[in-house]
């Protein structure tokens, strides 16, 4: 018995030793991925660069079967339109669209596949500012070598600035979710409140110059709620890209210029002031808290007087049964108006096996007027030509097409500075949670700002 138990103990120890060695070996092996901030692009570009000119249009890389390029994107119609149009004119390169579902889904899918260094992922759309983290981690290649400086001037300057980090052009901007104020004019009339000027009756200059202040919005919202029982104002979601222009108007910044520090920035008085205003406007009844989803069901059902609309919702007034209009994005009293951009971009995976072909698609999306036309059917593009055309083209004179004109005006004249940090995804997530608590009153403004700053600082620690 003693000999058997001794043998059993030695066997157990041997087994534990073997398992421990196996675990440590697997951990130490890792998979070193040297994602150089400049190195990977330099290594990739000489052989992959199309020398800033389309050399592969219609040609497959080996002259035989077409090269398939994967594109992971959200379910917006423009992506399917782009893929169809590009594939029809580029038989040597066939883009395959993988629909990631709801907005933000593409970024989640990409993060998972990038982490696994998936070679089958070529292009993906990101969420606002996520590409900075991906670039820092070495997950995406910058597009500097695929676009000449002259070609980059095709973009609206603010959109180009959004996608430029440490001198590198990271992604082709593909959305322009500038915010505007949707109006239910029937509720305004019922409450006896005069609405702000909207695109239905007025030109873009009159609407922009007559933009309400947030103080006016809050007061009107409260009056409408008291007199009609309906919601005066709704923020679909207090996401980072929705709120940062409001904070910038008050003099706040999310991070330090290098994007690595939030203490002293995110806890500055401007953000506390904004948090107090945000909580007060909800607590006083001027605004109501929505479910933690980005949706417009309550507005389209006629239960909300004012709602923050994104440019993609420019035709929302066609789907409602009440008198509907769209006004300019409000601003704080005495402050210069600033408009969020909510820019998504198409980025190139550093692990792609078809970078040259993928870059061709990206160049087509960025520079081909055919791509701009498809984009313009859906929302506002990010290129100078279609955006400025929106301001003068008679096709955008009549409502609701004129809403795109307002979006273009705000894009060109009221651009806010998008936060740039390698911890953008982390900060965004924490921001979302905390501002929902501030909005609902679950946290005081001071508690919310303190937690946001603390957790964002923890998230940034690995990048410093």
């Amino acid at each position: 018995m003693e000999r058997n138990s001794g043998m059993g103990v030695r066997r157990s120890r041997s087994l534990m030793t073997l398992v421990s060695v196996a675990l440590l070996s697997a951990a130490c092996a890792g998979a070193p991925s040297a994602g150089s901030l400049a190195g990977s692009s330099a290594a990739a570009s000489p052989s992959d660069a199309g020398q800033a000119s389309p050399t592969l249009a219609g040609q497959s890389s080996d002259g035989g079967a077409p090269v398939t390029v994967s594109l992971v994107a959200n379910g917006e119609p423009r992506y399917a339109g782009w893929v169809k149009a590009f594939n029809a004119t580029h038989p040597g390169i066939q883009v395959k669209l993988e629909d990631s579902g709801a907005s933000g889904g593409a970024a989640n899918v990409a993060a998972l596949r990038f982490g696994q260094k998936d070679p089958t992922l070529d292009i993906t759309s990101d969420e606002v500012g996520f590409d900075i983290q991906w670039f820092t981690k070495g997950w995406i290649d910058p597009l500097d070598s695929y676009f000449s400086p002259e070609e980059l001037t095709a973009f609206v300057p603010s959109r180009l600035a959004d996608e430029t980090y440490q001198g590198h052009f990271l992604g082709v901007p593909v959305t322009n979710s500038t915010l505007m104020l949707g109006l239910n004019l029937d509720l305004f009339k019922e409450a006896g409140v005069d609405p702000p000027p909207g695109m239905k009756e007025s030109g873009v200059e009159a609407v922009a110059n007559g933009a309400w202040t947030w103080e006016q919005v809050a007061a009107a919202g409260k009056t409408i709620q008291e007199k009609t029982g309906m919601s005066g104002l709704q923020f679909p979601k207090g996401e980072l890209w929705v709120m940062y222009p409001l904070g910038e108007q008050l003099g706040g910044n999310v991070t330090s210029p290098d994007g690595l520090t939030v203490k002293g920035y995110l806890d500055a008085p401007a953000w506390l002031q904004l948090a107090k205003w945000f909580q007060d406007v909800h607590a006083s009844g001027g605004a109501t808290v929505m479910n933690p989803d980005w949706g417009y069901e309550e507005f389209t059902a006629g239960k909300v007087a004012m709602v923050e609309l994104v440019a993609e919702q420019n035709a929302i007034c066609l789907s409602v049964k009440f008198s509907c209009d769209v006004a300019a994005e409000p601003h704080f009293q005495g402050m210069k108006p600033k408009s969020a951009r909510g820019s998504n971009a198409l980025v190139l995976s550093a692990f792609s096996q078809h970078k040259k072909e993928a870059a061709e698609f990206l160049r087509w999306v960025a520079l081909d007027p055919a791509a701009w036309t498809i984009f313009a059917e859906d929302t506002l593009p990010s290129q100078n030509v279609p955006v400025t055309k929106t301001l003068t083209d008679p096709a955008y004179d009549a409502f609701p097409a004129s809403v795109k004109r307002l979006a273009a005006y705000q894009q060109l004249n009221w651009p806010a500075d998008q936060p740039k940090s390698p911890a953008n995804p982390e900060i965004w997530r924490i921001w979302d949670e905390v501002w929902l608590d501030i909005q609902s009153g679950a946290k005081t403004p001071a508690q919310g700002i303190e937690e946001l700053t603390q957790r964002a600082d923890e998230a940034l620690s690995i990048y410093r």
Partner: protein, 308 residues
């Protein structure tokens, strides 16, 4: 099975001591092999691989990002984060509330079903409806019921009761998720406990009744001890599944309000899919796994039968 291999002799396999030997000694092992392979591949390898990932992290040095061995850095980072204790508190509170509620409700429903008579089959089928629904559908249904203008507040309004915030309230959100979880799972476990109740020899209960035991005493001193193994099964399974609760936070509360439903698995999923930090995500899951193993071990010790 008794000892298998004797040196120099053909293996002898018996189901229990005193039973005749099996003709084909390899048969039990062959039948077990597929399950063992699945457990090893999707269990053991996954755990080992996950642990390896948790020991890796990124180092940002002079503009270069490198995946390197970082030892326990990820564990230190998640334990030291300001959200960790809140996540642990939310997860523990959820389990302390949901597990007893579910087990108790399931046993009560099972007892009621034994007295349902001809309607028993109908009720049993109805109970399975909630089990057939996915978590997503379940949450969508309850969200519409419990939303600000939903069915529940509509009923409250009709009864002149104040509207309730439910899952938008820091004090109510956790209990809402507990209640939804109980609703979703009680049907299945009620049927499991019904089977255990029907396995009890009615003569034992009759004897206890003849001895003067009340219904409560019969339940406490006869029924419950005889159902101990089933209760242990339910407790272990529910501990493992409820410790990894995630979907209500993802689809209903976003971990709030005020981190009241910021469960550990929710934080882990956000770290993986949003933050792009698989090492920290797996480290969190690893810590959770250790806690679950400890809780299951305690449950086995407390609930084990003397004849196990």
């Amino acid at each position: 099975m008794s000892r298998l291999f004797r040196r120099g002799r053909r293996p002898t396999v018996r189901y229990h001591a005193g039973a005749p030997p099996l003709r084909h000694w390899w048969l039990p092992y062959a039948l077990l092999t597929p399950a063992i392979v699945l457990i090893v591949v999707f269990g053991v390898f996954a755990i080992v691989g996950g642990f390896a990932v948790s020991l890796q992290g990124e180092r940002f040095n002079s503009g270069q990002a490198e995946t390197v061995f970082v030892g326990l850095r990820n564990y230190v980072a998640v334990i030291g984060s300001s959200i960790f204790l809140k996540s642990v508190a939310a997860t523990v509170a959820y389990n302390l509330a949901a597990n007893p509620l579910l087990v108790g409700a399931a046993i009560a429903i099972a007892i009621a079903l034994t007295r349902a008579g001809r309607m028993a089959t109908f009720f049993q089928s109805t109970l399975l409806l909630s089990v057939c629904l996915s978590w997503t559908v379940t949450l969508l249904i309850w969200r519409s019921i419990l939303s600000e203008g939903g069915l529940a507040n509509g009923i409250f309004a009709a009864l002149n009761l104040p509207a309730q915030p439910f899952y938008t309230s820091a004090s109510q959100a956790l209990w809402v998720t507990v209640g939804i979880s109980a609703w979703a799972g009680v049907g299945f476990w009620a049927l499991v406990f019904l089977g255990a109740l029907k396995a009890i020899n009615p003569d034992i209960l009759e004897a206890a009744a003849l001895d003067g035991a009340t219904a409560v005493q019969r339940f406490r001193y006869v029924v419950l001890p005889l159902m101990r193994r089933t209760v242990l099964l339910a407790s272990v399974v529910l501990t493992a599944s409820n410790a990894t609760v995630f979907v209500p936070a993802q689809l209903l509360t976003l971990g709030g309000p005020d981190n009241s439903t910021h469960f550990i698995m929710y934080e882990a999923s956000q770290k993986l899919f949003y933050d792009g930090r698989p090492g920290e995500a797996v480290a969190l899951v690893g810590l959770l796994m250790i806690v679950v193993f400890a809780l299951v071990f305690v449950q086995f010790r407390v609930l084990r039968s003397d004849d196990a």
